[in-house]
Every structure is written in structure tokens, then in C-alpha cells.
Amino acid sequence: MLLPAVLALAALTACARAPGDGSAARSDEAARSDEAATIDQDRDGLPALPPVTMSAAAEPGPAAPGATLTLLWTFRPAPGWHLYGNVRNDSGFAPRQRLQLPPGWTAGPLLWPPPARHLSAGDILDHVYEGELVLLQDVAVPVATSPGRVALSARWEWLACRDSCVPGRDSLSVTVDVGSAAAAAAPSARLAGARAKLPRPLPAGLVKVELDGATARIRRTDGQAGNLVFVPALDCGELADALREGAGAELSLRLLPADGRVGPLRGLLLVEGAGPGAGAYVLDVPAVPWTGSTTEMTTNGGRP
């Protein structure tokens, strides 16, 4: 899935929803319909919206052969419902995609904004999206593409939860006009907004990250107050207690040594509160060999 994006230019004309496929409420599976019927009754008895609706778009348009366009996959959870981040969670699962591209076309990975920490009773730690979620995905238009309209489609599946959980699915198609390159258009506010939310590389001077033995210590060094939140990636090393140690003014995250190594510490660091440093950053501390106990490590650690 991690295909490099290629520079280019492209165009969108229409976004069409494939007929006959829909969210959970419209599913043809009896059990799922039962489930949706149970859950989609609001307490006042009025018919409820499906928990999540989706749309798709592509920018810019029209697209020239050899260009790169960006797909925007937009999820709109109804108020109170959340979707799951593509990170380590105790429950749920992140929206997943089965993309269908014409021969020769390639797509980059889905680009996810930072999810928010979400605690439920019973020490359940998840990272979720409430409100509109836009996932971005770059697609390279092959140089040899003939002019005309090309459909890019994807099937999506997700889990939305409120007090209860409802799976949903949809099939979406974006029609791209491949033709001569148009003048470079400015990205839409939606695209610019979605790009601005994406996690960035950690800048110098904002935080100090120190792996002291098996404990990762993270604190702000920009002089500003505000919580730090660590959101572990799916491939992060095992953490002893992300629930209690994953958020605070400074973090001490205990990693569980495994297979002779500690780490990697991989995920997002959310810097909250005041200052220009507030935002979401990519944290990637490589694994280090593990040969001893925490006590030894602490004794020997601490020097720059």
C-alpha cells in the first residue's frame, strides 16, 4: 500500500455513489438490518440518520496524464457517533478501503488526521474521530493515459460507535476527466484544511524525547504549558500502560522489552495547549537492544 506519490495534475468531474450499496442501515444482511433498526431509533422515536455518511472527491481538475491527484474520502458521523483511528485501540476498527483503479494507476497510502484519545469505563483506551473525517490519498495518473473519463472507485467498511456500535459500508466512485493540463488550480478549502490537519515531523526544540532504559520520557521544551498525548501506532512496541501513561504534562511511557529489544516507540505525539507548537507530530524512536533490567538502565542512563 505504501506506494510513492508522483507529482502531477488532474481533474475531477463527478462523484457518484454506486447504486445498491450503502451504509449499515441499507445493508441487505438481515442481522445487520436488525441491528441498525434497533440502534437507529432515537430515544424520542423519530427516525434517525444512519450513523455515518460518506462522500468522495478528487482534486485538482481536469487531470493531465502523468499528474498526481488527491482523493478526498469524507466521513460524516452523526452527532455523538465516532469512528476509529488507524492506530492501536482496545476496541473497534478503523475505516478500511478496497480501492479499484484502472490498470497502470497507482495510489499512495491513506493519510489520516490525528485521532483523539477516548477512554471508556473498564480501562478501555481508543483513539477516535468525532465530527467530519477527511482521509486523503494521492493517485498517480499514468503518463500513457488516453484522454477521457476514468472512474476510480472504492469499497469502504467501518465501525461507528456511540453507546452502541454499528458497522457500515459504502461503495463510492469518483470520475476523473483526463485531458490537457489546466492552469494550476488552488486547492479547495476542504483539501487545504485536511492537509493542515495531517501530522507533521517533530520540529527541533519543541519536546525532548529520551529513552531511558525501557522508559520513554517526553516533555515539552518550548516553555509552553499543555498536555502531551501519545497515540501508539499499530506497529509501536508494546507499552506497559498506555491508558495511564499516555497523556499528561510530561510522559513516562514504559515499554515492554521483547525479543531482546525495547521499542520502537512509534506513533503520534499530540501537543496540546498554547503556543505555536500545539499540533500533531510523528514520533518514531527506533528500537534499541535490551540487555538488562530497568534498574540498570536507569542507573546508567541520563547522560546526553
Binding site: S91, A121, L159, L206, V209, G213, N227, D241, R244, A249
Partner: protein, 219 residues
């Protein structure tokens, strides 16, 4: 080891002057202070917490009594309205089939609902209806206070635990290897673990990642 240098694994990503670093507890918001305790719940090798819970007919089930009878005990965290329980009890018969496959070998299977009153899938009536609808051949226990669920660290429905005859946790995790709400997995971890236990072998994968809805505990 020869690697004193390795032991000194202090990794500094970003060095910066620590001047007016504000570590005010007031700024920590909802975050509890780092605790010395690890995440609650059990892991393989731990002694399984004993419990007594009532099934839907009011009959008490006590873990230690089953262990005293030499049984292996499977615990399935359950919520009849969770789509993943629907997957394994209605769209597919994963749980009933797993039970039927190995039941003759001295196994007890207990489904446990730790949903608090008023939460999705909770309550005697809803569970009685579900037990009949899903034709569950094993007891369904209510844990409305969530005590047993929290003792075990049950996070999802379903979340599977297996207690060996020695009273120790032998497996925690998923029922199978597909976290889709509709598609059954190709590998049933619980069957593999049970077969290993029954044959006196080591459980090949004692921990897997459970998947499903969150358990609807009391707040």
C-alpha cells in the same frame, strides 16, 4: 554482555534548553498521573481470578468449582447487540461450533455479559431472548457490576479467556483472526489453544489481540 554501551541506551531525539518548563498538574486535565500499576486484567500464566455469577435462571456458576472438577473453562465476553457477537452467534455459529467441537473433552464454556443496567445489550430479558435466538448451548452469566470483567480486563465483545485445569490463564484474546464484523476468520485461536491444552502441549499463541465493541461497563 559485552555491550556496556548498549546498556546505556539513552536516546535523545531533540535536545533543547529546559527553561520555563511548566509541569503544572493543573495543566494535565483529564490525564491521571502515571501509575506504578500495569494495565488491569490478566495475562497467560496468572492465576485466574475466582468468581461466582448467576446465569439467566439464577443458577450460580463458580470458577473454582469447575476447576475442582478438572474442567478447562472458556470465558466469552458477550453483548447480544454488539455486531461482532451477532457475527459469531447469528451470521455464523463460531461460538456454538467451537463449543460443540471440543465439549466432549471436559470443557466448560461460560458467556459473560458485563454490560451495566441500561446499556446496550444488558438486562435479564434481553439476554434471555438472545440466548434462545442464538441457541446458545452454554450458560450466559450476568456481571452487571462489571467486577469479573474488570478483574479479567475484558475489553471487547467478544473477548476470550481460557483457564487451564491448573487454574491459570492459558489464553487471552480474539476468537479468530478476522476482525471484520461479518467475515469469519480462517484461524480459530480458541480451538488451537484448547487442543493444545487437552493434549498437554504448550498453547501456540497464548495472547492475540481481541477485537469487537467495547464492553459496556458502568461508568
Amino acid at each position: 554482555m559485552t555491550t556496556a554501551g548498549r546498556v546505556l541506551s539513552v536516546l535523545v531525539l531533540t535536545l533543547a534548553p529546559v527553561l520555563a518548563f511548566a509541569a503544572s498538574p493543573a495543566a494535565t486535565g483529564a490525564a491521571p498521573a502515571p501509575a506504578a500499576t500495569a494495565t488491569t486484567g490478566v495475562k497467560p500464566g496468572d492465576v485466574a481470578p475466582d468468581f461466582t455469577l448467576k446465569d439467566l435462571d439464577g443458577v450460580e456458576h463458580t470458577l473454582s468449582r469447575y476447576l475442582a472438577e478438572g474442567k478447562i473453562v472458556v470465558l466469552e465476553w458477550f453483548n447480544p447487540d454488539c455486531p461482532f457477537i451477532v457475527k459469531h452467534h447469528k451470521l455464523h455459529q463460531t461460538m456454538n461450533d467451537t463449543y460443540a467441537t471440543l465439549n466432549h473433552k471436559g470443557m466448560v464454556w461460560l458467556a459473560i455479559n458485563s454490560g451495566a443496567p441500561g446499556k446496550q445489550g444488558a438486562g435479564l430479558e434481553r439476554n434471555k431472548k438472545a440466548q434462545a435466538e442464538y441457541a446458545m448451548p452454554f450458560p450466559l452469566l450476568l456481571d452487571e457490576a462489571g467486577t469479573v470483567g474488570r478483574d479479567y480486563g475484558a475489553k471487547t465483545t467478544p473477548h476470550m479467556f481460557i483457564v487451564g485445569k491448573d487454574g491459570k490463564v492459558a489464553y487471552t484474546g480474539a476468537i479468530d483472526n478476522d476482525n471484520s464484523p461479518t467475515v469469519p476468520g480462517k484461524r480459530n485461536y480458541v480451538i488451537s489453544a484448547l487442543r493444545a491444552l487437552m493434549d498437554g502441549r504448550e498453547v501456540p499463541e497464548p495472547v492475540t489481540k481481541p477485537y469487537g465493541c467495547s464492553v459496556k461497563y458502568a461508568n
